[in-house]
């Protein structure tokens, strides 16, 4: 499912035309992006939590080059909501 499909579904749910929905979606995602870049955690109720965490520097191995140093960096982590396990597991069983 890509953005166009999301917009179609979303416009049906919102009761608005696709153009308006596209603009609203763009704005919502922009706000979420800004909060994440600022380092805040974003909770998507019923889906999960997005937060920026710092990973430690470590040594890695590139097959072509050999051992190399991977510096510390900021990473976006996603923790799924606990209801997902039950909801999606039930669907799978069905």
């Amino acid at each position: 499912m890509n953005t166009s499909d999301v917009i179609k579904l979303l416009s049906a749910r919102l009761g608005a035309n696709q153009k308006l929905t596209r603009q609203a979606l763009k704005q919502v995602l922009s706000i979420l992006r800004q909060r994440l870049i600022a380092g805040d955690a974003v909770t998507l109720s019923g889906l999960g939590k997005l937060q920026v965490k710092e990973s430690k520097g470590r040594y890695g191995y590139i097959p072509g080059k050999g051992r190399c140093y991977i510096p510390a960096r900021q990473q976006l982590r996603f923790n799924q909501h606990k209801t997902i396990k039950d909801d999606f597991a039930a669907d799978k069983d069905d």
């Binding site: 919102l14 603009q23 609203a24 704005q27 900021q74 999606f88």
Partner: protein, 362 residues
Amino acid sequence: MVAAAKIQANRNTEATALATLGFDFVLQELIAVIREGLKRDGLVRLHQFGTFRLKYSKSRVYRNPNTGATRILPPTPLVSFKPAKQLRDQIQATKAPAIAVSQAEIARNTTAPISPAVLAPRAQVAVINKHPAANSVMNDPADLPSLHATEKSAAQSSTRHPLAAFLGISALGLFAAVPFILSTLQKDFDDTDIVTATSHATVMTNSIEAAAGSVATTTPVDSVAVPTEPAKQSKPPADETGQGDNNFFLKPLIKTVTRGDSLWKLAQLHYGDSRLWPYIYRANQRVIENPDIIDTGMRLVIPGLQGNMQALTGRDRENIAEGYYLLYRYYLHRGDSNARDFLLGAHGFDNRVLEKQRLALG
């Protein structure tokens, strides 16, 4: 101008759209749509934001160890999120990695023995961003000979000199006396060898690469050594003026030595050239008693390079040559037959180093 106006107009329209529908309402419905999309396709891709993906872990058989009963655990749904490249880059750009190594730590490595506090487990590797004073410590060749002499004297007087302990001579008195004795001895010791070695070196200028190669191969691997006791600072840590050049091609690092590491390997790993291991020794000469042996848990400064390996700057070459020269003196003092190779190595990186060292020794 027209484009800017258009962008502004678009922004206004988007803001109006969101105001009309309401942020909470749109977000709530968006989450519902994402859930629906995950159920339907297992994948929801949002342009310039990221991709939500639904995966299932494998089902497995669970056996109760007490009763011996088995049952099949169903596959567990796992939703993952992969941020879009644009978002990932923006997050990276906003926050630089934390500076975990202080200037004092670098100064401690160059001027005083490592302390147990330093050896305590900490973050393994950290990046130094820009420490002007620290750079000046590592890159200033002028104070190297005096620093070396002071360090030797401080080490012998403060911690390991049994004669001092026996006689009860104060550490201060020894600080003053030992450098003079050492420098006098070293001067006599080095002068003869330098003259002969220089003539030898001038003949073999073209075979420097081979000489450095032999240095690398003769370098023994590390084994376990006992860390030194804590000691007082014998020299002010760093030049506060910050005159050092900050333009590093390779930034300095602090590396905690792990099992199997050696200076040779560290140089190969960080610089891509094992011949630069004397450069690491030079930056950590106070911590490393024997360059053949580095202890696990030691925190070593891996000095930065201003140029790349193909085009080292004059200062880099000078520093590397000094590292070689320090090793030459060390091995010469130890009576090692390979000492001369280090002199050739020094000459290969910077042929003025011998003159400078001789001038410094008076």
